[in-house]
Symmetry: C2
Subunit: 341 residues, 2 copies
DNA sequence: GGAAGGATGTGGAACGTTCCACTTTGGCCA
DNA sequence: TGGCCAAAGTGGAACGTTCCACATCCTTCC
């Protein structure tokens, strides 16, 4: 009644279990006749190799664990595309776990992966404390995606938020904007770097005097409140760089409520290039992160350590790129002219 | 250099491996003194139970496999929330695999789960042919989510698309609309049922003569083209029921391009209640599926079979609900009056 | 005082593979 | 003919657990 094993196949085919093992793994030096016989019996019996037993004896699972902080965030889907593609090419299988933004369940998921003896771990912006992550990295090569790290034992690959912010500011400045404001991302990941990148880019463009940052968050509401703060006092900006796409959408809503049209009255730039940003209806100019490439890179980092090629930690920053869509245009008072510093 | 085993712990603590095993599993009838000693040594050594070995001897893994056709579709994230919650409550762990809409990689992911000896399988609208799914179901209890099935061996839980469509039509009819058109979902999952539900609801409301279906798809473009077909010939509808949210957003774009405002000139209803629909900027009236509940139900169906409580297949249909937002209003010519049949 | 029995602890078999060392077979060449 | 070697196939140990049957010790009770 229970699943057939390699021994059942061997008995039925009249050969040794070793030979069945060889056939199942496609080894050479097996006569064509026996190969066919074994394969036939295996199919008849519905035999399926037991990865559990195999992993135990081989002392390796060929499994990479991917821990996602949040399945709801479409950002990670594309990272995983890259992870899976690269892993498949290198002969590894992937399993995904998630903690849904709850530290306890994230820890549980991590334990599951570790107990299943995944050979490497890719953590996509986990909320777990660094201490736990460092602990895991002692058991198995671990890389952090989209969460910075200075750890000596945990690699990381993130997008260069500073450069991305500079891209946004550069685009707006070259359209002729001077009063470019920033609605920041609060304590969200990368938020500090984006703000810093904004400030430095403003300086580089000779617009330090025009720089203005208001508090926000990585949510629609954050963008919405940011607009309220920006337009209720002081001189209104002609362009807004929001901390991410969600905040940018909140910005769009708030601007519409105030009767300001985009991009005629105000230009808006987001960050992340989510599907939301790409929707026709929104058509948001935004900064894109090379997500699949980040995923591929994460796998490469894990495998470098697995192959024993490296011991020192690496912290990679991928270059973001600008995606120009319909929410940016020259300011109404200064059409299209480029203003360099 | 390699990972410590139960035997290393036993030696160091001066007890038998059996006792270590008992301690690790929190068994009673272990003296407090030895328990502490074993726990201490285990912590010192960084011992972590090997789920691979445990699974092999226990002949069970306590693992449920979830196969996702498409990580990019946020629909599934909430289904998984429900799956994970229910699984955790029942003492099961979950691993997620995905095929990213490619049959071959979906098959690979399925094989991985089966070889890892997951005890049950939840397939979220897989693209795999039914034959392969039925095969899998012979090895392990299998349930299909958001994909219908009449199979005798595979359970399924889906949303009642017919009822959902009726909800949409009922809402529009009660607002006073008569010329309610439907942009359908082509060959997408559930599309036929939604169309059928639309047609029957129109009949029930005495609007059979006004019913009009145009070909579309589950994409923005599908909705966009649908509007072109609807408004280029024949009498223009006062309300559109799009096959899903994406198509509804395409509909909104196309209507805006034609200078028609929503909901003043035309009402629009979508299906799925995605995050996109909820975004302030879009604020789409739509039909919601009880996603987390679908996930929980899927787990229950798997466990029923696992516990040997059931052999016959069950095919469940969950009731959808209407989410009224800003894209629907009474038609301009017939304000608010309810027209029953 | 001794039997009964509960509490605590132990050794070995088993789970389903892989891998290593070994055997058998047969072909080829001097 | 005999010796060698490659090709094909085999048996058993090992992987790290759990579980079962059993052993030992201590308390309790008649």
């Amino acid at each position: 009644m229970s699943r057939p094993t390699i021994i059942d196949v061997a008995k039925r085919a009249g050969v040794s279990k070793s030979l069945v093992s060889l056939v199942m793994r496609g080894a050479p030096n097996v006569s064509e006749e026996k190969r066919q016989r074994v394969l036939g019996v295996a199919a008849d019996l519905g035999y399926r190799p037991n990865a559990v037993a195999r992993s135990l004896v081989r002392q390796r699972t060929n499994l990479l664990g991917v821990l996602l902080s949040d399945l709801h965030n479409p950002f990670f889907a594309e990272v995983i595309d890259g992870i899976q593609a690269e892993a498949a090419e290198r002969g590894y299988r992937t399993i995904i776990g998630t903690g849904d933004r709850v530290e306890l369940s994230e820890a549980r998921a991590l334990d599951t992966m570790l107990e299943l003896r995944t050979e490497g771990l890719i953590l996509a912006s986990p909320i777990l404390p660094m201490r736990r992550i460092a602990e895991a990295s002692r058991e198995v090569p671990t890389v952090l995606v989209a969460r910075g790290s200075r750890s000596a034992s945990v690699d990381s690959v993130a997008n260069d938020d500073t450069a991305g912010a500079a891209l946004a500011v550069g685009h707006l400045a070259s359209l002729g904007h001077r009063r470019i404001a920033h609605i920041d991302g609060g304590d969200g990941a990368g938020s500090r770097e984006r703000r810093r990148g904004y400030e430095r880019a403003m300086e580089r463009h000779g617009l330090a005097g025009e720089a203005r940052v208001v508090a926000g968050s990585y949510t629609e509401e954050g963008g919405w409140k940011g607009v309220r703060a920006l337009f209720s006092r002081g001189r209104a900006p002609s362009a807004v760089f929001a901390a991410n796409d969600l905040a940018a959408i909140g910005t769009l809503s708030a601007l519409a409520e105030r009767g300001l049209s985009v991009p005629e009255d105000v230009s808006v730039v987001g960050y992340d290039n989510t599907a939301l940003a790409a929707a026709h209806h929104i058509h948001l100019t935004t900064v894109d992160q090379p997500r699949p490439e980040m995923g591929r890179t994460a796998v490469r980092l894990v495998l470098e350590r697995l192959d024993g090629k490296r011991r020192a930690a690496r912290h990679l920053l991928m270059p973001p790129s600008l995606v120009v869509r319909g929410t940016t245009a020259p300011p109404s008072n200064a059409p299209g002219k480029r203003r360099s510093r």
